[in-house]
Symmetry: C2
Subunit: 170 residues, 2 copies
């Protein structure tokens, strides 16, 4: 799948088939995130890859709209150093997330971001140290409804080009 | 170009040929950013697309490592609402940047991120309103050294998989 099609057709997927992802697919997704660029190549992230159903179910309770994690075949928790240090940390985490989700889409794997609203419960659940923070996790899995993989983009899903892009000056 | 190759081979490009990018390439890059996902689809960004050489030269003076902007065929300034409001704003900006840079790479266009260290000078230069902020701009152009487009990834450019990924728990 070429890049422009992946960008055009990828959509959020929140309902997944109850089948595991093959190991090579899991590695491809994680490697895509690992390869993302970052400010001064600081790579300010660690990833926790979660496939145990009990842990996924616990993760789903850490955010108001995180319930899709419970049905995922894989969740990737994106840990960062303290994002309050500089704006580039969450920016870089966003780049890594985009890489993972586009790489997944090419492999027929859907995904959805979840904001973690209970970071300290997450720390207890996943055992990460004090100097790392969890704000975002991503659910991955084969879409329950396969039609989404080839469906046309939703009309009106984004602001228009004219409302988004300025030429030379605001 | 498939997604996994774009992710694997894309590298930062800081030196560009002194030739303009065709309009359809510029639109493809900007549309890729526009199509990025964002928390609750807030699309917390505006993009200013800059091709005037004088403005690019001024942009290059807004950050300590931003000099590559001067030689770019296109700079995209990613404006966001106040990134201090919530961590997802810069995260979403990072996703949009990744989309633009991967879409560009597929079209043979190199790019490099620049952190803007003089946001108020940037505001004066580009005329954006008080409730928008500029932390990151991206330079785009055809690589001066075309070899980079097909060169193998730099060895040791990222932490190892084992140093980055944890299974189930830290």
């Amino acid at each position: 799948m070429n890049v422009s099609d992946a960008i055009k057709y990828k959509r959020a997927v929140r309902k997944f088939k109850d089948v595991p992802l093959p190991d090579d697919v899991v590695f491809a997704i994680l490697n895509a995130g690992r390869r993302a660029q970052s400010a001064k190549n600081t790579q300010p992230w660690h990833f926790i890859a979660i496939r145990k159903k009990e842990t996924l179910a616990e993760m789903a309770r850490l955010g108001e709209w995180a319930s899709h994690l419970a049905g995922a075949a894989l969740a990737v928790a994106i840990l960062t150093v303290d994002p309050a240090i500089r704006f580039s940390i969450m920016f870089d985490a966003g780049q890594a997330a985009a890489y993972m989700q586009l790489a997944a889409w090419e492999l027929g794997v859907g995904s959805c971001l979840a904001t973690i609203y209970q970071p300290e419960k997450a720390r207890t659940l996943l055992g990460f140290p004090e100097d790392f923070y969890l704000n975002v996790a991503i659910s991955f899995g084969y879409p329950l409804n396969e039609v989404v993989l080839t469906a046309p983009p939703v009309k009106g899903g984004r602001r228009s080009f004219a409302d988004t892009v300025h030429w030379e000056h605001w």
